[in-house]
C-alpha cells in the first residue's frame, strides 16, 4: 500500500508542472465526455460520483458513492495537479480504481477540462 501511495504522489509531482492555463470554454465541451457518469450538482450520484466540491476533497471521500478500495487508499487530495495526473491515465495513477475510462493523453485538453472545473466550482 505504501508503495502505491508513493507512486501516485510521484506521478502527481511530475505532472503538476504540466498544468497550464486551460480554456474553460473548450473544457466545457470536453466535459461532455464525462457527463454520462459524473454530475456537477451536489448529491447527484450516478455511475460515477458527483464532482461537486471536488477541489480539496480526499479521494474516495465526500460523495455518497461506493468508491473503490484503491481510490480510498490512494492518499490523493484532489487539486488541479492531482486531477491532471489522474485523468492522464487513471489506471496507471491509481491501479484498480473502478472508473471505466482510458484517460486523456493530451495535456492541453486536460488543462481545458480542469479550467472548466475550476470555473464551475470556484
Amino acid at each position: 500500500m505504501m508503495r502505491s501511495v508513493m507512486c501516485a504522489a510521484a506521478v502527481i509531482a511530475a505532472a503538476s508542472a504540466a498544468v497550464a492555463d486551460g480554456d474553460a470554454e473548450r473544457g466545457a465541451k470536453r466535459f461532455e465526455e464525462c457527463v454520462a457518469c459524473h454530475a456537477l450538482e451536489k448529491d447527484k450520484e450516478s455511475v460515477g460520483p458527483s464532482l461537486y466540491g471536488v477541489f480539496g476533497r480526499k479521494a474516495g471521500e465526500g460523495a455518497d458513492f461506493r468508491y473503490s478500495p484503491a481510490l480510498k487508499r490512494s492518499g490523493i487530495t484532489w487539486d488541479q495537479a492531482s486531477i491532471d495526473s489522474f485523468i492522464a491515465d487513471p489506471q496507471a495513477t491509481v491501479p484498480g480504481n473502478r472508473m471505466p475510462y482510458a484517460g486523456i493523453a493530451d495535456a492541453a485538453a486536460r488543462a481545458d477540462l480542469i479550467a472548466y472545473l475550476v470555473r464551475t466550482f470556484k
Binding site: 461532455e32 465526455e33 457527463v35 454520462a36 457518469c37 455511475v47 473502478r98 472508473m99 471505466p100 482510458a102
Partner: protein, 590 residues
C-alpha cells in the same frame, strides 16, 4: 384469487428496446401506459459498474441477464418426425430477462434491412424466375418498403448512438462506407469506432481482393454523445465486455439508459417488474383483446390488467408463445399449410475461419461490440449473381473481434489436443496471435420450420412450452459452401502461420453451442390475413387493438442482425398507434 386492476390505455408486455420505445412515445402522447416486465430492475449504477460487471462466470456461464429456463423454456426438434425435448439450459440463443431486455447484453450491431428483404419473393422471381425458389421455401414480401421505414431507421440510429460511416447519402456514394447500402437521408450520428489491428488487416485483404470493406455500424458510442431525447452516452472504452454484459461506461445504446428512464419520469407511465404475463384476454366474440393476465413471480399473486390497447414487446419467441397460449389467430399447420401463427420461424447460419500469425499481438481483450470491418459484396448487392450458385439469400463477411473474453476465448490451431499440457501450451502460445474472419448468413423460410405448442412439456405456470421445429435446408448448405470459399480465400491471401479453415455446416442444427440470438418469424407481417398474422403496422389481423412488435414479424431472416428494423418498426408502430387511438379499427383493410 385474481385481482382485477383499473383499466389503462395501453399495456405493454416486456420492456426491452421495443417496449421501451413504445412506452416513451405513447406516454408522451398522453396515453396511460403500464409496462409488465418478467425480470428485475437493473441499472448501470448498481449492476453494470466496475468491477462487478466483468464476471464471466456470472454473466456468460450462469446467464445472469437471461431467461431462466427453470421457469420457462422451449422444446426443440429438427423435423416433425422427431419428438421435441426441452432445452434445459440456454445455448444457441440468449433471450434477455431484465429491464432493458436483450438490448442490455447485445453487441450493438445495427443494420438497415432493405427492399432486398422486404420484396424478397418479387425480387427473386423477377430475376431468376418462379422455379428458382424451392417449393417448400415459404418466403413472401413483407408489405412494407425501405422508403417507408427510412425515417424510422434514422430515428433509431440517433436514439441508440450508432457509430458508423455512411456509404450512400441520398444516392451519392460516400468513400469508406458501405457502397451497397440503400440511400440514407444523413450520416450516422457518430463516426466509426477506432479500427483494431484485426479489422485493419481484414480491410486491407478484402480491398486487395476487390471487395468493399467498411466499418461495422454499431451502438457503441465512438465519442461522448447526447441523443435527441437528451440521454447521455459516454465514449466506448474498448473494454471487451460487450456481448452478454451491461455497459460499464454507458456507451452502448440500450433502452435502460435512453427511452426507459425517460418513460419512468413521465407520470403517464408505470413499470411493474417481476410480472409474468400468462395470457392475452379476448372479449366474447374474439374480435378485440381486453387486457392481459399476469402473475407476480415473487409471491404468486395473480392479476388482470385491462387495457384498451395491448402491445406484445417481449422476446420474439415469447411474443409468438403468448399468441398461441391466448388462442389469437389460427395456429400454423406445416402439413396442411393452414393457419399463420407459428409460421416461418427462421434463424441464421454462418461459417468462420481462425487465422494465426506468429509474432503478431492482436490484444484481443481490447475491442468493442462492433469493432469489425465488414463486406457486403455477397449480401445486399444484386451484382452478385446467385443463379450459378443456386441459393436464395445472402451473407456478409467480417473480420475483427467482438467480445472475446479473457477466460472463454482460447483460440488454438486445429489438431491441438482439447485438454491437458499440450492444450495449455498451445493456448498460451497462440492467444495473442489469432484473429477471425466470419460470414453471417440469412435463412429463408421453410414450410417445416415453425413453432407450435408442445403436447408434453409444461412451464412453471402449467402452460405448454413453445415447441420449435427447425433445421437448415439445402439452400442454406449451398450458401454455406459459397461463404466458406470466400472466407478461406481472403484468409489464405493474408498468409497466416496457421489457418483453421471455414467449413460449410452440413450437420443438423442443435441448441448448443451459442450461435445467434436472432430468432425471427412466428407472427409474420404481410399484406393479407391469409398468409400473415399482422399487417404492416404490426397490428393483429384478428384483434385490431393488439400489436405484436419484434423480430417475430419478420417473414424470413437476413444475414444482418435484426435490431435495426426491430427498432425502426417500434417507432413506426408508435406513430401508427397514435393514429389508431384517435379512431380505433383496422389500419389496413383485410
Amino acid at each position: 384469487m385474481v385481482t382485477r386492476l383499473k383499466e389503462v390505455d395501453v399495456v405493454i408486455v416486456g420492456l426491452g428496446w421495443t417496449g421501451g420505445i413504445l412506452s416513451k412515445e405513447l406516454a408522451e402522447a398522453g396515453l396511460k401506459v403500464v409496462a409488465l416486465e418478467r425480470g428485475s430492475m437493473r441499472s448501470t449504477e448498481k449492476d453494470y459498474s466496475l468491477p462487478n460487471i466483468r464476471d464471466e462466470l456470472r454473466y456468460v456461464v450462469r446467464h445472469d441477464l437471461m431467461q431462466n429456463t427453470a421457469r420457462d423454456t422451449i422444446t426443440v426438434r429438427n423435423n416433425p418426425s422427431q419428438e421435441a425435448l426441452p432445452m434445459r439450459r440456454l445455448g444457441s440463443f440468449l433471450p434477455g430477462e431484465v429491464v432493458g431486455g436483450s438490448a442490455v447484453h447485445w453487441s450493438g450491431h445495427t443494420w438497415r434491412w432493405t427492399d432486398m428483404e422486404f420484396k424478397v419473393r418479387s425480387n427473386y422471381e423477377e430475376r431468376y424466375g418462379k422455379n428458382f425458389i424451392p417449393a417448400d421455401m415459404t418466403i413472401q414480401d413483407w408489405g412494407i418498403s425501405y422508403d417507408e421505414l427510412e425515417p424510422y431507421y434514422d430515428r433509431f440510429e440517433y436514439t441508440a448512438a450508432i457509430s458508423g460511416k455512411a456509404g450512400n447519402i441520398k444516392g451519392e456514394i460516400k468513400p469508406g462506407g458501405n457502397p451497397f447500402e440503400a440511400p440514407r437521408a444523413r450520416d450516422y450520428p457518430l463516426p466509426p469506432l477506432t479500427a483494431i489491428l484485426a479489422s485493419e488487416m481484414f480491410t486491407a485483404a478484402a480491398k486487395n481482393a476487390g471487395y468493399h470493406p467498411f466499418p461495422r455500424p454499431s451502438a457503441n458510442a465512438s465519442r461522448a454523445y447526447t441523443n435527441p431525447d437528451g440521454a447521455k452516452f459516454g465514449a466506448c472504452q474498448y473494454c471487451g465486455y460487450c456481448q452478454r454484459f451491461g455497459c460499464e461506461a454507458n456507451a452502448k445504446g440500450s433502452p435502460h439508459i435512453t427511452v426507459i428512464p425517460i418513460a419512468l419520469k413521465n407520470p403517464n407511465f408505470e413499470l411493474r417488474t417481476h410480472s409474468w404475463v400468462t395470457k392475452v384476454l379476448k372479449d366474447s366474440d374474439g374480435k378485440k383483446v381486453t387486457g392481459v393476465a399476469y402473475t407476480n413471480i415473487l409471491n404468486g399473486e395473480e392479476f388482470e390488467q385491462p387495457a384498451s390497447v395491448v402491445l406484445l414487446c417481449a422476446y420474439a419467441i415469447n411474443n409468438v408463445h403468448l399468441m398461441l397460449l391466448s388462442g389469437i389467430g389460427q395456429p400454423y399447420d406445416p402439413v396442411a399449410q393452414t393457419g399463420v401463427v407459428g409460421k416461418n420461424y427462421c434463424y441464421q447460419t454462418g461459417v468462420g475461419a481462425t487465422l494465426f500469425f506468429e509474432g503478431r499481438h492482436f490484444n484481443p481483450f481490447m475491442n468493442a461490440g462492433g469493432s469489425n470491418a465488414t463486406i457486403d459484396d455477397f449480401n445486399i448487392n444484386w451484382n452478385f449473381d446467385r443463379g450459378p450458385h443456386n441459393f436464395v439469400g445472402a451473407y456478409n463477411v467480417s473480420g475483427g473481434f467482438n467480445t472475446v473474453l479473457p477466460i472463454g476465448y482460447r483460440p488454438v490451431p486445429s489438431g491441438t489436443p482439447q485438454w491437458g499440457k499440450a492444450w495449455k501450451a498451445a493456448t498460451a502460445k497462440w492467444y495473442q496471435t489469432a484473429m477471425t474472419i466470419a460470414a453471417s448468413g440469412s435463412v429463408m423460410a421453410n414450410r417445416y420450420n415453425c413453432y407450435d405448442l408442445d403436447p408434453t412439456y409444461r412451464n412453471a405456470f402449467g402452460q405448454p412450452l413453445m415447441r420449435m421445429t427447425f433445421d437448415y435446408r439445402p439452400n442454406e448448405h449451398r450458401m454455406g459452401e459459397h461463404a466458406a470459399k470466400v472466407v478461406n480465400d481472403i484468409a489464405k491471401s493474408m498468409n497466416p502461420t496457421r489457418l483453421n479453415q471455414a467449413t460449410a455446416r452440413t450437420q443438423p442444427w442443435t441448441v448448443v453451442p451459442y450461435q445467434s440470438t436472432h430468432n425471427t418469424g412466428g407472427t409474420i407481417m404481410g399484406t393479407n390475413p391469409r398468409d400473415s398474422a399482422v399487417n404492416k403496422y404490426l397490428q393483429s389481423w384478428d384483434c385490431h387493438n393488439l400489436f405484436v412488435v419484434g423480430a417475430n414479424v419478420f417473414p424470413h431472416n437476413a444475414s444482418y442482425n435484426p435490431t435495426g428494423p426491430v427498432g425502426a418498426l417500434a417507432y413506426w408502430t408508435a406513430d401508427a398507434i397514435k393514429r389508431y387511438v384517435k379512431s380505433p379499427g383496422p389500419l389496413v383493410a383485410a
